[in-house]
């Protein structure tokens, strides 16, 4: 039996951490969350740990303790900066790590997103990705004033109205990704010719109208930004149920999933792989990453106590769509290697409290995985695609 391929590891950055009381931990630096230095420091630490990439959360409204509605709490972090711009700000300060901001497909223009992520790929010389998200929140729709959504509580998601809205939002997200990808390809790699003899800067035969016509978008193209260094930056999405699994299978390079045990992981992987095959892309590589919220300490009791203490400060026990892990880096390594057998190729770890848990990932978990021969000892590539073992895609418009 050949050695299994090394794990891929990402960290999901959000404010001071995923626990709503994380900002009250010693070392949380809640005053600095809106400064460039804060984010530069976090990403530098992730890069020290040789992680594949970091993701940056985002939304068009304040954070909330409710899943679907805004709240009026004053005891939790509220406010966040634009994720694409945070990624751009740290790009020139890093060399290897991938930068994957969240983009909300529901309220943005694919033309703008395409050029923004292409440009992130230029400023990071090939380390850009994006994480596509939909938003069904009424309050966020009201910030744009273009459309209204039905009131939808978390428990309404499985009603006909809920299913219809979710299907529509994901269909729109799929079209959004399709437009963004076509725009990246709308310039062939060698379109800029600078031919002094004929006076032509570009060969216009290598620029392509994408002529996308769909229910939500009609976009002509070409992009104003030339094809980015990776050709196609890496597209990712978080998925919890069948409709988003379809999106991942059809449109993404990485899917983040939230199984709570190995059997569930196996089932989710099978469903996404089947969706991939149904969309005719079975041969194209697709990473499926497990998402976990992690509280890490050298003593497992200390980690559980820390989570309990934060729950006490928040006034309720923190729950998550993802499994919440409390324990030692060694125990987490055990869990990850076990879960990998279910077909997960990597993990996106959400630090419970960034000020504490990010370093436990980079300086505890990573050395542990290295000892077990399951993680890199040095960056082996300069691009995010390179780190993930994804080839640079051919341009769909280029004459063969």
């Amino acid at each position: 039996m050949s050695a299994p391929s090394p794990l891929h590891l990402a960290v999901a950055l959000d404010g001071t951490g995923w626990h709503p009381a994380a900002w009250r931990e010693p070392g949380a630096r809640p005053d600095d969350v809106f400064t460039a230095g804060y984010w530069a420091g976090l990403v530098a630490e992730a890069e020290r740990g040789l992680l594949d990439f970091v993701t940056f959360e985002d939304a068009f409204g304040p954070q909330s303790s409710h899943v679907t509605e805004p709240d009026e709490r004053t005891d939790q972090v509220r406010g966040r900066l634009d994720a694409v711009l945070i990624a751009a700000r740290v790009a020139p300060l890093t060399r290897h790590i991938g930068l994957v901001p969240t983009v909300v497909a529901t309220h943005t223009e694919p033309f703008h997103i395409s050029k923004a992520i292409a440009t992130l790929d230029y400023v990071s010389t090939g380390r850009a990705g994006l994480r596509v998200q939909v938003s069904a929140r009424q309050n966020e729709a009201a910030h744009f004033g273009r459309r209204t959504f039905p009131s939808l509580r978390a428990e309404d998601r499985d009603t006909p109205a809920g299913r219809e809205l979710i299907a529509e939002l994901f269909e729109e997200a799929a079209d959004h990704i399709e437009v963004v990808r076509r725009l990246w390809d709308s310039w062939e790699d060698d379109a800029e010719i600078r031919d002094v003899v004929t006076g032509r800067f570009v060969d216009r035969d290598k620029l392509h109208y994408i002529d996308f016509e769909g229910r939500h978008f009609s976009v002509k193209g070409p992009s104003i930004t030339p094809r980015p260094p990776q050709g196609q930056p890496v597209v990712s999405a978080l998925a919890h149920q069948s409709v988003p699994y379809q999106l991942v299978g059809r449109s993404a390079d990485i899917g983040y999933v939230t199984p709570h045990d190995t059997d569930e992981a196996r089932a989710v992987v099978a469903e996404i792989r089947a969706a991939r095959a149904d969309s005719g892309r079975a041969e194209e590589p697709l990473h499926i990453f497990g998402d976990l919220v992690v509280f890490l300490d050298d003593d497992p009791t200390a980690a559980a106590d820390r989570k309990a203490r934060l729950d006490g400060l928040a006034g309720y026990p923190y729950t998550s769509d993802a499994q919440i892990f409390t324990g030692t880096p060694g125990q987490l390594a055990d869990l990850l290697l076990e879960r990998r057998r279910a077909g997960l190729s990597g993990f996106r770890l959400r630090p419970g409290a960034i000020g504490h848990d990010l370093e436990r990932i980079t300086r505890g978990l990573v050395p542990e995985l290295q000892r077990r021969g399951a993680f890199r000892h040095a960056y082996e590539a300069d691009t995010l695609r390179g780190l993930l073992g994804l080839a640079r895609p051919a341009n769909r418009y280029a004459a063969v």
Binding site: R24, D31, A36, R78, D82, L85, L120, V219
Partner: protein, 459 residues
């Protein structure tokens, strides 16, 4: 003595950018932008400026290929530049037609946070269906609504910037109070173009709001700038035209309750430097020949004639046929085409001038498209710039070199020290924000929410 404001425009999609020069580098790679920004910062410029394009230009139904084609996303490059510079302002053009206020306000507020107070927004408008074909809303905006939407867009974004007053974040780990106001960022805007409400989710940024620039020479554009902008970009090629514009725009400020120094007038200008004035003139002549090739001249003429003129000899006389009055314009995605409102009259004027001065097509295009230019030795250029500023033809200039990215280097090394010697340009930055560099006040937030004020007014 007035202090001069200087800024630099990264050259891009226009025929003044000489991409064929062996010294010309990439217009896309970040290293080019970093070099340009660092040079401008080394020279203590107020800001650097990036234009925007949302559709590749076309002429005669084909993508226009003689100029630089392609550029990066404005916000993304400006924010990345904040990482490799410390003081210089970061100004970007962002269209108000194909964007939404909440998103753009978030991006500018984020840029201002991530640059520690260096963001500026050049508000422009568009209405054409041609550009709209790249966006989900399409080309929906009637032309007469362009300034009305732009004004409301800016007003709405300002309401969002002001929805945080700046003291809401307490972040007291001990007491557990992060926000002192549960409604921080609350806003309601009910208007003709935008009907939105909720909470803005970026706390007040270091400058309060980005500095606002505006470009546009029309009466409406001047009024818009006088009412809402911190600086106006203009293009006037002579001292007299510059003074006239300056006087007119500054005069308008009082109608909007603003003072003379609350709006800076910054024309765009090109420059060519030589060891001597004569050498610079010679170089400038060569540069103009590079900028206006025979093909470029013919293509430019087609904007007025609105028909295919590819059969004409650029070194020969102007066409004696009249422009095609057809509705369909031969060139799309170009702002300059709108300058020729009466093409038949323009064509007649140009023919008369060409005959009187014995100019070929190419000569004429070179003569008519020359922008505000400073040509000469460093001493001459420094003197000329200072004269323009001290005699109120401008408050400073936005310099547009013709070579990317090194076109600013000589100016920084030779002209700037001469201006510093004269005491009309800073030796070093005295502040950290763009507002500091421009001498603009920090904006006040509303003392109290409008709704509360109304209630009290009624009481």
């Amino acid at each position: 003595m007035k202090q001069i404001h200087l800024a630099a425009h990264f050259p891009g999609v226009n025929n003044t950018t000489v991409w064929s020069d062996p010294r010309a580098g990439s217009h896309i790679e970040f290293s080019s932008f970093a070099h340009f920004a660092r040079t401008a910062e080394r020279a203590k410029f107020d800001f650097l400026f990036l234009a925007e394009g949302l559709r590749l230009r076309e002429q005669g139904g084909e993508i226009y290929d003689l100029d630089v084609v392609g550029r990066p996303d404005t916000f993304t490059v400006l924010t990345a530049l904040a990482a490799v510079t410390e003081r210089i302002g970061l100004t970007g053009t962002i269209n108000s037609t194909f964007n939404e206020p909440y998103e753009v306000a978030r991006q500018f507020a984020s840029l201002d946070h991530l640059s520690a107070g260096r963001a500026a927004w050049n508000v422009v408008t568009s209405w054409d269906a041609f550009t709209g074909e790249n966006f989900r809303r399409g080309g929906f905006l009637p032309q007469e609504e362009r300034y009305s939407r732009a004004k409301e867009f800016l007003a709405t974004a300002t309401e969002l910037f002001d929805s945080w007053h700046g003291d809401e974040i307490v972040a007291d780990q001990e007491s557990g109070i992060f926000l002192k106001d549960a409604q921080a960022g609350a806003f309601v805007h009910r208007g003709q173009h935008f009907d939105i409400a909720g909470r803005f989710n970026v706390p007040r940024s270091p400058q309060g709001r980005p500095v606002v620039f505006q470009a546009g020479d029309s009466d409406e554009g001047r009024e818009f700038a006088a009412s809402s902008a911190d600086a106006i970009f203009s293009r006037h090629s002579t001292l007299e035209a510059g003074r006239e514009f300056y006087t007119d725009v500054k005069r308008r400020l009082a109608h909007h309750g603003r003072t003379h120094d609350q709006l800076l007038i910054l024309p765009a200008a090109t420059f060519v430097l030589g060891d001597t004035d004569a050498e610079a003139q010679e170089l400038a002549h060569e540069v103009r020949r590079q900028q206006v090739s025979g093909q470029t001249a013919i293509k430019y003429l087609e904007h007025v004639w609105n028909r295919d003129l590819s059969g004409y000899d650029p070194d020969g006389p102007l066409p004696d046929i009249d422009p095609d009055p057809g509705e369909h314009t031969i060139a799309r995605g170009r702002a300059s085409v709108r300058m020729f409102r009466d093409p038949v009259a323009v064509a007649r004027q140009w023919r008369e001038r060409a005959e009187a001065e014995n100019l070929s097509i190419r000569d004429l295009v070179i003569e008519t498209t020359g922008r505000q230019s400073f040509i000469g030795s460093p001493a001459t250029v420094a003197e000329t710039i200072n004269t323009y500023v001290q005699t109120d033809a401008a408050d400073g200039f936005i310099l547009v070199p013709h070579i990317t990215p090194s076109g600013l280097d000589d100016f920084a090394d030779t002209v700037v020290p001469l201006l510093q010697e004269r005491g009309v340009f800073r030796h070093d930055y005295t502040g950290t924000t763009l507002r500091d560099h421009l001498g603009l006040p920090h904006p006040d937030t509303r003392a109290e929410p409008e709704a509360e004020a109304q209630v009290r007014g009624l009481g």
